[in-house]
């Protein structure tokens, strides 16, 4: 299993992501944003979290126009998997590889804390190790995580089983930290090979750090 991790100027979770996937036995490499191709033997591309290009203009906007993203698109179009975490999710919406957009958090604060998430659909690789309605504890750390999509788009997400995770409390009841439409924390594309979420599973790999629930998520992609 080979994992390529995209690095833009301002990305800051690439090495955590590398640690997480290597812990699961993957071979990893860092993909610099100016590269124009991704090796054929890379199975999964991960767009790691951070503040690509300082979040200038809009989070993920400038990164979405960088050379590597054309290669990431081609990788996804060939049916291989892509995962965007936090800023990576923002980049994937900006490239329209995932629908919707990530707005400034409703209460305008940067939120950094552990949060519970409820599995909305496990009929995809990413959450295949879970059952629907399972509750997991994963950190969130974002300023622009307020997921927006119009009503037609939302309906299409549910109709196609593309909603992955909802923010919730420890009992699985809705608890919305950032104003996201329907408390949505993560989605996938229609083909279910491109995944995006605001929470950071790569930061939930060790019990000693508060949670190891991220292992089961990332394992689904292995």
């Amino acid at each position: 299993m080979k994992v390529g991790i995209v690095q833009f100027p301002g990305t800051n979770c690439e090495y955590d992501t590398q640690y997480a996937f290597e812990k699961l036995g993957a071979e990893t490499s860092i993909l610099w944003h100016q590269e124009t191709t991704i090796a054929d033997d890379v199975d999964l591309v991960v767009i790691a979290g951070g503040f690509s290009y300082g979040d200038y203009l809009r989070s993920g906007a400038i990164a979405s126009k960088s050379p590597i993203m054309k290669a990431v698109k081609a990788h996804a179009e060939s049916g291989k998997k892509v995962l965007g975490i936090c800023n990576g999710f923002q980049v994937l919406t900006e490239t329209h590889m995932l629908p919707g957009a990530l707005k400034r958090n409703e209460h305008l604060h940067f939120i950094s804390k552990h949060h519970n998430l409820k599995v909305a659909s496990s009929s995809n690789d990413f959450l295949s190790k879970f059952d629907n309605s399972d509750v997991v504890n994963i950190p969130i750390a974002h300023h622009d995580g307020n997921f927006f999509i119009d009503q037609d788009g939302l309906k299409a997400l549910y109709d196609n089983d593309q909603v992955l995770l909802h923010y919730c409390d420890k009992d699985g009841k809705v608890s919305n930290p950032n104003g996201s439409v329907d408390s949505i924390a993560g989605i996938c594309n229609k083909a279910k090979n491109v995944f995006g979420l605001m929470p950071h599973p790569e930061r939930a790999m060790e019990d000693v750090l508060g949670s190891s629930d991220g292992i089961k998520m990332l394992e689904g992609l292995m």
Binding site: E94, P99, R104, L108, F148
Partner: protein, 80 residues
């Protein structure tokens, strides 16, 4: 020629920053404010002197990069 581009959240998309500013204005006793929207302005100098061509080009810039049309609207003003 100069292009002045104003970008703001679409009507119907909640503008949290606008709401916060409105709230702050309320607390300063500016009571005649009905609604506040916060946007972004991009000003660029163009070498293109043909107005129609400039408008076409700047529109493409807005669609491709400057605005996220999923949530934002934009207006373009050209000044000679």
């Amino acid at each position: 020629m100069t292009a002045i581009i104003n970008i703001s959240l679409k009507n119907g998309v909640l503008d949290s920053q606008g709401k916060a500013v409105h709230h702050a204005l309320d607390s300063l006793h500016f009571e005649n404010v009905e609604d506040v929207r916060v946007g972004r302005q991009v000003i660029m100098k163009l070498t293109q002197e043909d107005e129609a061509k400039a408008l076409e080009e700047v529109t493409q810039m807005c669609e491709d990069l400057l605005a996220n049309t999923v949530i934002e609207d934009y207006t373009i003003e050209l000044v000679k």
